[in-house]
């Protein structure tokens, strides 16, 4: 049931074809699985293993290294609160206490209605806009407790549905390489000499 659906299998094959080695596609494919199911299921790891030619244990080996992959369901909205230095200097800890109070959960916890998972996060690369948070990897900058309350209300009421997809979807735009334009994967075993334009002459 939680193997990739047909449309996602087609996308997966398109992604795999871009790499000289199939396993390279694993992280993008794990994202695809998480997008479909909201988290990484055992069945999807078995399926991804079949698609790229490795065991499901190897898939898990890779997946478990990375912070973004979840192996159990999380809330519809994952709220990552940055707590690294710049944010800490600008009140991240106080904001986290406020968030815990508003949502009634500790970091790592999910609200009973399944809407929100609160989490500690490390530097989100928006340090001048501290304190920051990300909801399903969409930024909120210079967040005050009042901003946080408004955000929660807006998420609950569905006001932000267009901007913030449910947990699992990161980017909503995909690269598409047109078949007639793409060079295709350049594998080490297929190439013995330098590329055409390295002939000492100008290409144009």
């Amino acid at each position: 049931m939680s193997r990739l659906n047909d449309a996602n299998v087609a996308t997966a094959k398109e992604i795999i074809a871009r790499y000289p080695r199939q396993k390279s596609a694993l992280i993008p494919l794990l994202h695809l699985a998480q997008e479909q199911n909201g988290y990484i299921t055992r069945e999807s790891m078995v399926h991804l293993g079949e698609l790229v030619g490795v065991t499901s244990a190897e898939v898990y080996g890779t997946a478990s290294f990375y912070e973004m992959f979840r192996f159990e369901p999380v809330g519809k909205y994952l709220i990552n609160m940055c707590g690294t230095m710049s944010c800490a200097l600008m009140g991240a800890q106080e904001l986290m206490h406020h968030a815990e109070h508003v949502l009634g959960v500790k970091p790592g916890g999910t609200t009973q209605d399944g809407m929100f998972t609160l989490a500690h996060a490390e530097c989100q690369a928006a340090c001048t806009e501290a304190p920051t948070l990300q909801v399903n990897y969409r930024y909120r900058f210079r967040v005050t407790p009042a901003d946080f309350d408004t955000l929660i209300d807006d998420l609950r009421s569905g006001k932000l549905d267009n901007e913030i997809p449910p947990h699992g979807t990161v980017a909503t735009v995909r690269q598409r390489i047109p078949a007639d334009k793409g060079v295709g994967a350049v594998a080490p075993e297929d190439v013995v000499e330098g590329p055409a334009w390295m002939d000492g002459k100008a290409a144009l």
């Binding site: 890779t62 290294f65 973004m68």
Partner: protein, 474 residues
């Protein structure tokens, strides 16, 4: 900590929070003022892909030579010149790959994210020029997993550029053909290390590789020669290709030419990302200059600042007049790193501030090297109890000893007149494969060296119970 007071609203561009424009030479942020700066239409209207076109009219070796002449220092942290790096590939070993390091996650740093979000075509053009010049047959553009908008903007730009014939087969009708493949991560700081980035791109756990080989240029992705360049480094190339190395070298100093993007965060009046002139701009200019941060919030005293990202040893007001020049910052006991300054004013609780970084590195250790895996965690635990007021004076020495197992010998630190300290120059010795281990110790070591009294005041003296004789020996 009320940081909102005294912070002027300076973002003229609602779409690019963080970036602050100014009346200075712009190499990589010239399009940030346009609301549609990320579109192909805007890019073409502002000289887009002219650098690529010009480059393709020259033999690849000449383009490479021009980049070498310009000394484009790597903007990822190590500062290794791009042209020289490309030249490290072994002769006649093919294919060669380009891996773009967009896994920006150094605490305090963000410039690559803005460059990807605001001007993705500039980055794409930079990648194409690099591939042409160094004979690289396929490009993988690795973007940090958490950066949803950057991924979307780059994906859309790639789609536009393919449709317009700038990427793919026979670019602009020439014999130059290369694909740029968008790849994205899933959250791991260590993947910013170039060999870990390659491991991650091969679908593995993102752990750094054993060295030697020291450079992926010799042996990288799939065992082939691989150039790993930072996003900002590549974003410089279109301007360089159009204007030439002489124009590039005319900005900044001889050893640090051009501009660089610097993010200044923390307790300043106007935190922001600034494109500054390399080599000549000083930390004082940046922190106090009217065109930059405009001083410390509430006009407080400056206590300390991190000059080059979370991994860098700290500076105090004694070092404010140093310029953005690696050859001066290194001997002064720190590094410029990834262009990130984090400012702490007089109200800062130094041990607690150091803990945020120690926790970061303990959390981000990949676990491959014991000194980092165990040492980082030990440092976090000991420092946590010190910060919570549960530590003893022995803990302070213990932290230095744990640090010495990650970095034997004198660890770099800044000079301090009041403390009578002389600087210990950067870099350090290390017992780990990559810099994550030493980075875990750097902030704590600086804090302990420069602000020891703040640690001492919150630990209890260990009481030594005198040994009393149980009975007479004879």
């Amino acid at each position: 900590m009320d940081g909102r007071k005294g912070r002027a609203v300076t973002n003229t561009y609602a779409h690019a929070p963080g970036f602050v424009a100014g009346d200075r030479p712009k190499i990589v942020t010239s399009r940030f003022e346009y609301a549609d700066s990320f579109t192909l239409e805007r890019y073409m209207a502002t000289g887009g892909y002219a650098g690529l076109r010009k480059s393709l009219h020259l033999p690849a070796a000449e383009v490479h030579e021009e980049v070498k002449k310009a000394t484009v220092l790597g903007r990822g942290g190590a500062g290794f010149p791009a042209g020289t790096k490309w030249g490290l590939t072994p002769q006649q070993v093919w294919p060669r790959y380009l891996v773009v390091n967009g896994d920006e996650s150094e605490p305090g740093t963000y410039k690559d994210r803005l460059l990807m979000e605001r001007d993705p075509h500039q980055l794409i053009e930079g990648c194409l020029i690099a591939c042409y010049a160094a004979g690289l047959s396929q490009c993988f553009l690795y973007i940090r997993g958490e950066m949803a908008l950057a991924q979307e903007r780059v994906a859309a730009a790639l789609n536009e550029a393919y449709a317009a014939g700038f990427i793919g087969k026979n670019i602009l009708g020439s014999n130059f053909s290369v694909d740029i493949v968008l790849h994205w991560g899933a959250g791991a700081y260590v993947v910013g290390e170039e060999t870990a980035l390659i491991e991650s791109l091969e679908g593995n756990r993102g752990m750094p590789r054993l060295k030697p080989p020291f450079f992926p240029a010799a042996n990288g992705l799939y065992g082939q020669p691989t150039i790993v360049n930072n996003v900002e480094t590549l974003a410089n190339l279109p301007w360089l290709a159009v204007n030439g190395a002489d124009a590039y070298n005319a900005i900044g100093t001889k050893t640090s030419p051009g501009t660089r993007m610097v993010a200044v965060s923390g307790h300043v009046k106007r935190p922001g990302v600034y494109e500054i002139i390399n080599g000549t701009t000083t930390f004082r200019d940046l922190l106090y200059g009217a065109e930059f941060c405009g001083g410390i919030r509430n006009d407080n005293e400056l206590k300390a600042f991190v000059p080059g990202g979370g991994s860098a040893p700290w500076f105090t007001p004694d070092q404010l007049d140093l310029p953005f020049e690696a050859s001066q910052v290194g001997p002064a006991g720190s590094m410029l790193g990834s262009g990130a300054i984090m400012v702490m004013d007089s109200t800062t609780d130094i041990p607690a501030a150091a803990l945020t970084l120690t926790r970061f590195y303990a959390h981000e250790s990949c676990g491959k090297c014991t000194p980092c895996r165990e040492g980082g965690t030990w440092l976090e635990r000991i420092l946590t109890r010190v910060v919570e007021g549960k530590g003893t004076d022995a803990d302070l020495q213990q932290m230095l000893e744990v640090g010495a197992m990650i970095c034997p010998g004198d660890f770099p630190h800044a000079s301090n007149e009041a403390l009578g300290l002389a600087a210990v120059p950067f870099p350090y010795k290390m017992t780990t494969i990559c810099f994550v281990g030493p980075s875990a110790f750097a902030p704590l070591h600086s804090a302990l060296t420069l602000f020891r009294s703040e640690f001492e005041s919150r630990v209890t003296k260990r009481i030594t119970i005198p040994v009393t004789a149980v009975g007479a020996a004879s």
